[in-house]
Symmetry: D2
Subunit: 258 residues, 4 copies
C-alpha cells in the first residue's frame, strides 16, 4: 500500500487525480492540501466524491512524509515550494509546468520570468510513459505533460520518429474546452459569455509549444511546431488536429502502419 | 427628441436597454453611469455596441437632468439613491425590484429587509403595458416587472380574468437561462459547472411570486401562485410553463378564445 | 451463468441494456435480434461496444431458448410477437409499453388501439423494484416502467403513501432529452432544429400518466396526475419536477423524513 | 422593382435567401419552387417567415419569366436543369457547386462525375464581390462560393496578393456547424449523435479546396491549399483558421496593414 498525498487538491486537475487515486487498490491517500479551504472536507469542491472519502484539506506546512507526492499548483508555485516538498516524499510528480522543460533559456523565454531552481530542471523526467517508460520506472521526480502537449506528442511521435513528415512545418490546431482554464470563475469563463462560442483565442505562441518541440526532437530530428488554440463549446477534453506535410514518397499505408 | 440616461449600464439589462435606446429614432442617450468603470467606454462591457456609440461611463453624482431616467441597479440599491434620482428627471423607470410591490409588508417579507422609502411604494406604476396602459401614459415613476413575473402574468392574465382557472392553485415552472443571473462571474455561472445542467435550483419561494400574485389579483380574484425554477442549458430568455386547474365546465375553445 | 437474449437491440434502449449485460459477471449474452441489420455486428449501431463483443444480429425467427429474454421493441410490436417469445425463455422482461397497464380499458384509451393479448395484461409485473420487489423475485413476465413514469413514481411514492400530499392534484413537469425519442432521425430530432431548444411539446395527455396513476394508487389513495413535457438542450436522461399540494398540517421535516 | 424567383426554396440556404429577399425594398419575390412540397405554403418549412409572406411552392415546370433567378439545389441538379432555367431570367445566380470551377478537369476530378454542360463553365462569374466586383455588375450568370471557400478566400486574399505568405503551404482548419449539412435528417445529424461533438470528419480532400485554389491563384501566385474539417457543437456559421507560413522578412504590422 503506497501512501500518497496531493498538494493543491481543490482545482479540477487535483480533483480528478484524487478521484482516480481513491479508486486505486494499491494506494492510500494520506493528505490533501489547499491554501484557501483548510479544514473543509474535499467534497465541498468535489461533490462527486461524496461517500468515497471524508478527507479534509490541511495546510501545506502540516504535510507529513509519504511515499509519493503529487503537486497540482498554478504555474510558478511549484518551484517556490519545491525544496520543502522534495523532502517529504520518496517520489514526486508535478502536474504543473515548472519542471517540464530541460532547457533553462527555453523555460525563461516561454514563461517570461526567472526560474527559481534551474539546477533541478534536468533532474525531472517528462511524465509521458510512451516516450520515457524506462526512466519513469526509477525516476524520483516527474513533470507531467500539459494537456495540448500530451495529445500533440502522442499523435505526432510515430510520424516524426519514422521520418514520414517534415519536422519543420508542424501545425497544431487545438479545439479547447472550458474546464482547461481551471475552476476560477472569470469573465471569459462566465457561462453567458463562454457558451456556444467558437473563438480563436490564442492564434500563436502557446506555451506548450516548447514541450512539444523538446519531446519530438528526441526522435533525432529538430522539430518546429506552431500551436493555435480555439475555444469551442465543450466542457472537458480537447481535440488536437496536427497538420503535417508528408515527406516525399510517403504513402497513406506508411502513415497507418506507423 | 427625448434625452434619456441610464443609471447602471454595465450589466446585461442595462446593456440591452442601451442597445434598444441607441436604435430609437426619438431618443438621445445623454449619460450612462457605472460604479466601477467610470471613464471607460461602454463598449468595454458591450462590444456589440462598437461603432454605434462612443459614450463613456460617468459616476452617478455627475448625472445631469434629463427627460427620462432608467435605473438598472442590483436589488436594494434603487431605494438607496431614489431621492436624488427622482430629482433628475421628469420620468423614471426602475428595472429593479425595489418598487414593484405596492404592499410594504409583502415587500419586506419577500425581500427580508426594511424598505428605505415605503412612502413611494404606492407612487410607482407596475410597468406592464398590457395591464396598465392608461396609467403608464401619465406615470412619473414606473417599476418594471421581473422576467419570470412578466411571462407568468401575461400567460395567466386572460385565464384568471375570465374565470377559466382556479386562481388558488397556480403553479409556475420556469426554465431559466444563465444570463438571468447577471454578468458577475460566480462558481455557479462558471461554464464548466453551468453547461449542460438541468438543476432545480429554487423549488419554491421565488421572490417574483409576490409580483405575480399582486398583478393577477387585479382581476378581482385572490390568487395563490407557486413558482419553481430550474436552470437549463440556455443563455438568454426563459420559458414559463403555467400549470392551472380549469374551472368546472371550461372547454379548450374557451381557453383559446381568451 | 444465465443465458440472456435481447429482441430489438439496435436502438438506444437495447444498446444500453446490452452494454450493461456485457459487463455483468453472471450473464452470458446469447443472441440479439434486429429486423433491419441481420448479419451485421452490433458494433455498427453501438461503436462503444467495440472490443467488448463480436455478437451479430440475428433475425427474430432464429431465436433459441434462453433463461431470460428482454424485449426492446417500439410500442405495439411486443404484443404482436409475445406468444412466440414467451415460449423461448423461462423469464421475460419487456422494456416497452404493451404490458405496463393492468386495466384493458385504460390501455386502449391511452394507446388508442385494440390490445392483441388482453388476457396477459394481469400476468405481467410492473418492473419497479422499489414497489414490487417480492413479486419480481418470482415473476415470469415483467413490464419495465417508462422513463418519465419511473422518475415520477419514485419521487412521489413516499409522499403519497404517507398521505403528505393531495393525491388528486399532482402535476409533473418533465424536462426531456433528445435520446428519449430514440435513434430514428426525424425533422424534430435534426440537430439544427433540436439544438438549444426549450419547447413545450406535449402540454398534457402524456401516455405515461396512466402508469403513474396505476402505481401511485397502490398506496390505497386514488391519484390524479397531469404530465407536461418540455424538450430542453440535453442528450441523455430527464428531470422530473413533481408539483404537489401538501396535506394540511404537514411540515417540511415530515417530507424529508418520508 | 426586380421580380425574383428561387428554384429550390425548401432547404436552409433557400430559406435564408427568401428571408433576405422578402426584406429587400427593391425586390418582389414571384415564385419559389420545391420538388416535394408543391402547393404547400413556404412557412411549412420556414415558420420564421409567418406573417411575412403567403407564397406557396410551385413545381419547376410552372416557373414564369423573371428578372433574376436563384438556384438553390443539391450539387449535380443545377446542371441538369440549367438549359431550361437560363431561358427564364435575364440574370441567374446559382448557390450550388456546379458552375464554380472554370476548369473542366478540376471539376470532374473533385466532383467525380462527368459535367453535363462544360461549355457553360467559363460563362459563370464567381460570386465573390471582393474579388469580382466589376464583372459581377454585368454578369448574366453567377456561381456563388461555397461557405468554407468564401471564408477562406476572404481571409487569405490580402496575404497572398501582397506576397506575405508562402502560397504553396496554406492549411485551412474549418470548424463546422450542423446546419451546413442541410435540412435532411440523417444519422449523423441526429441530435443525440451530433450534440456535444468535436469530430474530425474530413481530414483532407474537401471539395471546396478547388475553389479556394482557383480564386487565390488569381493573385498571380500558384496556390496549394489543404482543408481539414471538424464538426463542433454549433448550429450556424463556421470558423475558418487559415494557417500560413510568413514569407521571409514579413512583420506583424505588414500583415495587419494588408
Amino acid at each position: 500500500m503506497l501512501t500518497v498525498s496531493i498538494v493543491g487538491a481543490s482545482g479540477y486537475a487535483g480533483g480528478e487525480l484524487l478521484r482516480l487515486l481513491l479508486g486505486h487498490p494499491e494506494v492510500k491517500v494520506s493528505q490533501v492540501t489547499s491554501r484557501r479551504s483548510i479544514g473543509d472536507p474535499v467534497t465541498i469542491h468535489h461533490p462527486n466524491l461524496r461517500r468515497l472519502t471524508d478527507l479534509c484539506y490541511v495546510s501545506m506546512d502540516r504535510l507529513e512524509p509519504c511515499d509519493l507526492l503529487f503537486i497540482s499548483l498554478p504555474n510558478g508555485l511549484s518551484m517556490q515550494y519545491i525544496q520543502d516538498l522534495i523532502g517529504k516524499a520518496g517520489r514526486l510528480i508535478d502536474l504543473g509546468a515548472d519542471f517540464r522543460l530541460r532547457s533553462l533559456p527555453d523555460w525563461e523565454e516561454w514563461y517570461r520570468r526567472p526560474h527559481l531552481h534551474p539546477e533541478l530542471l534536468k533532474e525531472f523526467v517528462y511524465g509521458l510513459p510512451e516516450l520515457h517508460r524506462e526512466e519513469l520506472k526509477t525516476a524520483r521526480w516527474v513533470a507531467n505533460p500539459g494537456c495540448e502537449a500530451a495529445d500533440s506528442i502522442l499523435s505526432l511521435w510515430p510520424l516524426v520518429k519514422h521520418g514520414l513528415v517534415d519536422p519543420q512545418s508542424i501545425i497544431i490546431d487545438a479545439k479547447m474546452s472550458s474546464s482547461q482554464a481551471g475552476r476560477q470563475p472569470t469573465e471569459a469563463s462566465h457561462h453567458a459569455e463562454r457558451a456556444n462560442c467558437v473563438r480563436s483565442y490564442q492564434a500563436s505562441g502557446h506555451r506548450h509549444t516548447a514541450e512539444v518541440e523538446q519531446e519530438l526532437s528526441l526522435s533525432g530530428k529538430a522539430c518546429r511546431v506552431a500551436i493555435s488554440a480555439t475555444a469551442v463549446e465543450m466542457v472537458r477534453g480537447l481535440l488536437v488536429t496536427a497538420h503535417c506535410r508528408l515527406s516525399p514518397g510517403v504513402k497513406d499505408k506508411d502513415v497507418w502502419r506507423a
